[in-house]
């Protein structure tokens, strides 16, 4: 008799929870751009935190000013932690991450693509000091190659390129992991490693002195440019407003100044499907 009563109570509790879930979910979705809490702009730590703040503060201020909501930059100590916070902590309202991370964020945390950087493609490069005898990717055998953390897009693209060139990155050369693209570039610049692997946009954004003293010996396959997505708890109106602000940036002087500061030409609408092929890189 008691067992029957207990079973009935458990079943009732389960039903209650199931029925309550949509209500709880709806509460999250209703979070709007008019809220008083700041929106968190999550940035993948592909460069140092200081550089991230320097480069993206104008964009964040632009959004904040136009949304009339405080927007706050946040990053993570590394790619893994950034991914974990993205997937598990629901920490970022707006997500600015690498293309290959977006698919997982979309799949695991429901982030919705609202735009991407308006550039055709991007790729990783392998650079060496200009006076280096390394001329081709094949010359990297037995050398020390600096790169970003293992989950970084540059590392994944370069590993694939090395494999395609018949070089096993885990055997034929020494991959030196550095925390950021800048660190990877400066590593060979200062002679700590023989070569550096990094994405082409950070290389272009590096100081002219450093860039001019380096030589590109290889470039990887292209990937779609950086996606910008929003968290599932932001309502549609807010997401649309953010999308609209990004897409219209090049139409205003203020927006153009922000784009120029970021070395971007603009933002455009993007199809989430174009990022799905990058999931293969993470699967390797």
């Amino acid at each position: 008799m008691c067992a029957d009563v207990l079973r009935t109570a458990c079943i009732a509790l389960c039903f209650s929870l199931i029925l309550a879930f949509p209500v709880l979910a709806a509460t999250e979705v209703n979070r709007s751009c008019q809220q008083s809490d700041p929106l968190v702009f999550g940035l993948l730590p592909f460069i140092s935190a200081e550089q991230l703040v320097f480069r993206f503060t104008p964009l964040v201020n632009y959004l904040s000013d136009n949304l009339q909501v405080p927007v706050r930059i946040e990053t993570a100590p590394d790619f893994v932690e950034f991914a974990r916070r993205t997937h598990e902590e629901s920490r970022y309202d707006i997500l600015f991450t690498a293309p290959h991370f977006f698919t997982r964020a979309n799949q695991k945390a429901g982030y919705r693509l609202i735009a991407s950087v308006d550039s055709p493609e991007m790729w990783a490069v392998i650079v060496v000091p200009k006076q280096s005898r390394i001329a081709r990717i094949e010359d990297l055998k037995g050398k020390r190659l600096a790169t970003v953390p293992p989950l970084g897009l540059a590392t994944l693209l370069v590993r694939k390129a090395l494999f395609d060139a018949g070089i096993d990155p885990d055997v034929d050369l020494d991959m030196v992991i550095t925390p950021t693209h800048d660190a990877s570039l400066l590593s060979s610049y200062h002679g700590v490693t023989d070569a550096s692997a990094l994405m082409q946009p950070p290389f272009e954004a590096a100081s002219k002195k450093v860039r001019d003293s380096m030589r590109i010996i290889a470039r990887t396959e292209s990937t779609p440019h950086i996606p910008i997505s929003v968290a599932p708890w932001l309502n549609e109106a807010c997401a649309a407003e953010i999308t609209d602000l990004l897409l219209r940036m090049e139409t205003s002087a203020e927006g153009r100044a922000v784009l120029e500061h970021n070395r971007f030409t603009g933002y455009r609408l993007a199809d989430p499907a174009i990022y799905e092929r990058l999931d293969e890189l993470l699967s390797r």
Partner: protein
Amino acid sequence: MHRKSVPLFQSLRFRLIASVVMIEIFMLSLLVWNNINIIHATHTDRLRDTASSMIQQIARTSGNYMVAVDYATLEDYLSNIIDYQELSYLVILDRDEHAEIVLGAAPTQPWPALEEHPAQVMDGVFDISEIITVSGQPMGRVLMGFSLSFMDEAIRESRTRGISIAAAEIVLTVIVTVLIGLGLTRRLGILSSAAHEVGKGDYSIRIPIETADEVGRTASAFNRMVTDVSSRTQQLEKAESQSRALLIENRNLVHTSLHVQEEERKHLARELHDELGQCITAIQADAESIRDLSRECDNRIETSASAILNVSSRIYEVVHAMMQRLRPSVLDDLGLIEAIKEELSAWQDRNPDIHMHFGVTGNLDDLDERINITLYRIVQECLTNITRHADASRVSISLSGEADSLELSVNDNGRGLKQTLPGGGLGLIGMRERAEGLAGEFTLESEEGAGVTIRVRIPLNSGERKIA
């Protein structure tokens, strides 16, 4: 050597030691006070600079961690810093002022008021804050509290050390000053006592030369000076002795001369009286006889005899006056008082406008002839001077006799004496010589316009009164 003790506050030793000690205490107190201020300022400035440096370093370092929300790594890094002994607490606040990292004995919210300088601290903890920025964007805030107890302890130690050193220095200064002062003033005391002894006439004294310093040189010079003074004093004493002997000899000579003069006068007066007087008397007797005998014979003889009588009478008067001047017979016949009265009477007749008073007290009989003639001559000289120089309207003479002395006082209300008395010096010298010839004292008191008072005091020995 006998040393006279000096009153404490007049003592050079006391003043020297007290001055040095007071100056030392004042200057050291000033120095300690200044040092304590400097130490306090140095420590507080050091703490302020250290705190400022640390918080700026932490704010700079924390920026990247704050952007990355990597509080665990930041806390790990800061946990090494919290071990710094003066650091009381460390709090990292995020952009919403939420305390993300709390290390040490942090205060509860609301956070304490911030201070600019440790000198402003009231609660013993220096609270400071710094905004964490990354590329100019605020990412949070660091709060730090520095305990002042270590600084206060260091200041206390420094202060105690400074005061101890100052106290030790004062004690040492007192000891050294006392020793130096005692040594110095002891030798000065010897010098002073020696000078005192020399002042009393002991030229045999010599100061031992202990050192070659200033006091030693002074002592050496003192010894040389005493030798010189002794030598010269001996010479002077010798010269004085000779002068005194000469003076006594001169006085004796003068006295003898006066005595001889008086004797000669007396003899001359007696001769005049005995010889010339008898002759004149005889001439007068003969002239009277001639006049009486010729009265009935020849009238011309009677006239000539009368003329001889007149001339002889005149001669007798002149001779009598000379005898009085040489030696008044009344002095020998009736004594000093009557002789002076007679002299005064004659003088009063010559100076009727001057009021004269003569007073006598005591026993003046039976005086030695030398005393009588001396006092008589002095009165005579005084009256002569008054007549010649004083232009006085009143003269008072008193003569008093005591058992062992006589005193004569002659006072007038005339012009008095100037410093230099033209032509009058010899008279005064003569009076003084006469008085001192009898071992007496002669004094003269006078102011210009206030008359002259002459006092003569003559001691009487047992043999200087005549046996009646």
